[in-house]
Subunit: 191 residues, 4 copies
Amino acid sequence: MAVDKREKIVQASIEVFKEKGIEKTKISDIVKRADIAQGTFYLYFPSKLSVMPAVAEQIVLNFMKRIEATVSSEASLKEQLNQLVDAIFHVTGEFRDVSAIVYAGISTTEHITKWETIYTPLYEQVAAILEKNQSRNLIRDTIEPIRTSQLLLGLIESAAEQVFLFNEYEADNEAKQKAELLTFLEHALRP
Amino acid sequence: MAVDKREKIVQASIEVFKEKGIEKTKISDIVKRADIAQGTFYLYFPSKLSVMPAVAEQIVLNFMKRIEATVSSEASLKEQLNQLVDAIFHVTGEFRDVSAIVYAGISTTEHITKWETIYTPLYEQVAAILEKNQSRNLIRDTIEPIRTSQLLLGLIESAAEQVFLFNEYEADNEAKQKAELLTFLEHALRP
Amino acid sequence: MAVDKREKIVQASIEVFKEKGIEKTKISDIVKRADIAQGTFYLYFPSKLSVMPAVAEQIVLNFMKRIEATVSSEASLKEQLNQLVDAIFHVTGEFRDVSAIVYAGISTTEHITKWETIYTPLYEQVAAILEKNQSRNLIRDTIEPIRTSQLLLGLIESAAEQVFLFNEYEADNEAKQKAELLTFLEHALRP
Amino acid sequence: MAVDKREKIVQASIEVFKEKGIEKTKISDIVKRADIAQGTFYLYFPSKLSVMPAVAEQIVLNFMKRIEATVSSEASLKEQLNQLVDAIFHVTGEFRDVSAIVYAGISTTEHITKWETIYTPLYEQVAAILEKNQSRNLIRDTIEPIRTSQLLLGLIESAAEQVFLFNEYEADNEAKQKAELLTFLEHALRP
DNA sequence: AATGAATGAGAATTCATTCAT
DNA sequence: CATGAATGAATTCTCATTCAT
């Protein structure tokens, strides 16, 4: 019974966004998917754009879970980077344009401050990985963990988006992109 | 005399996109800004979405001009990277979220092939800079110029966006971000 | 051809208001009657309530025309009052609740200043009648024409409304109401 | 203890009507103001429109109480009229356009019969005043008390509304309006 | 080529009313 | 009696696009 309606709306939004893209998604699509009445939507969100922060939160959560599950703290730096790239490519691929568009959608929505709050946990998670490797002397101690985790995530995400959005037809392209990216990362971080 | 109307439309689109975001921009906003009649729009573009590629082209052109004007082929690698970062930060700042939004807007439009065509010259311009430095042995010869130029641009743009969108109130933040980014780049590229 | 659309909307609004009352009238009723597209309405009026001032103007115009046509400046004071009462009863009857509701509707609409502007010509028309009779020494010279014309109109309208809205089933009631009203008026104005 | 909920609803309705007008008032506004649950409203009134008669009753009651308290049966006719005008101006001012709006609102609701029932006591109260003065030979014995009380109330109310709605910025206007009105009344009623 | 009023399908939004708790 | 979340029919409103001038 007690299925949180707000939860259902967010979940349904993500699903429909994935399928039709954000611009083409109507409130009516969302409520149909969530199996609630049209008016119920407005009990929880004042407009379509206002679901974005909640959607972003979900996606960030997905990134975090995937990273948590994929990156092994015991592995070598090279392996860890490899795992991190895999994790981010995976989630970016799963959410295709949603991840990119959420970003755009949210920036339109003047919820910029919220945006930072949402992304902070993810930044900290990756920063923690960097710090551990710093203490193992595997990466430069001149790097500032939080700031660099932001660079890392931006770099990897943009690389993933380029693969999924523009070159999606060449199969081996993803492998090449990852390889180039990994070498780039290793060099950037090495002491 | 008569300034090209097509030109005026693209220019007006960019301005309005900057102010209201793409989703909230109406054709009527664009034509008002361009000071032309509603119907005239359709003499130059078949639909609302079809301005996007032209807008993207314009922004890419801005990037290229700025890079051309800022990056000196005589300078040291460090200086060149510095100049490149400055150029990209400058243009990203000028167009605020439009650069990101064009990207999102275009992806919605299934004009993916066009997108690549539009961005290719920019990639090549930066790739050329990399190649020159490769031949000077200042950067690794294992790097693949085009692919790395994409990584570079994605990285620098995302760093710039983070500065302009989220941290825009801390004044010294831009300097710190650039510094961290530069060290990151130098390490990533050095032989 | 050149039928002013704005005009058509106002005309259609009055007709539909008369038939269904203001609260029950939908924009769609108005545009159907006016034989224009739904969107066209919004080209001329931002909302349903915003037609009210224009509707009021029309009704005031009706009052003025009817008074002009009915009241003879040659007639005796008694006759003139009789004619004035007839005119106002007639138009109030024609517009039934619209005249009353326009008044209420307009007050809701914060267009209070406009309201005064709309009614002023009517007040002046009746004031002119009073002045003429003042100069004929048929009515007190202590009365202030404009102010009293307002009282007069308010009194006659409210009497008419009482007849049409509440007592509408008793046929001879109108005659009695008019008779009482006329005696009341004559006494109020006599020197 | 528990203040009668029905009472609270009527009171809250009046307050909200005063502030937003009837058309723009939602049930949710009323229940919020009355500090009860949405559903509770329907325990006391079957529909939104059905509060109107109760609101009208309340306002009529206010008129009656004020008149009762203000008009002294011992005073001279002139004074009594003055007191009556004061009382009506006071209550009309207190309820601003609600008094007018109730009237309009009710008329929409086809509760016409009820309307008469509600107003009758007020008419009779004023008619009684007229009769007393008739028996004192201070006013014409040709006047029909009930009918004239209706005229009187309509006249005074419309005069009051004109003051409060349209001329509300000129301070001395109310005094002038009352003076003109009083002379008008005295003449209308004197034998 | 240029205009801009008109269109109307389609989407967003509202809100009186219900009903399970 | 009281609650207030949920409903969904009804309406308003938007805006890309067309087309007669």
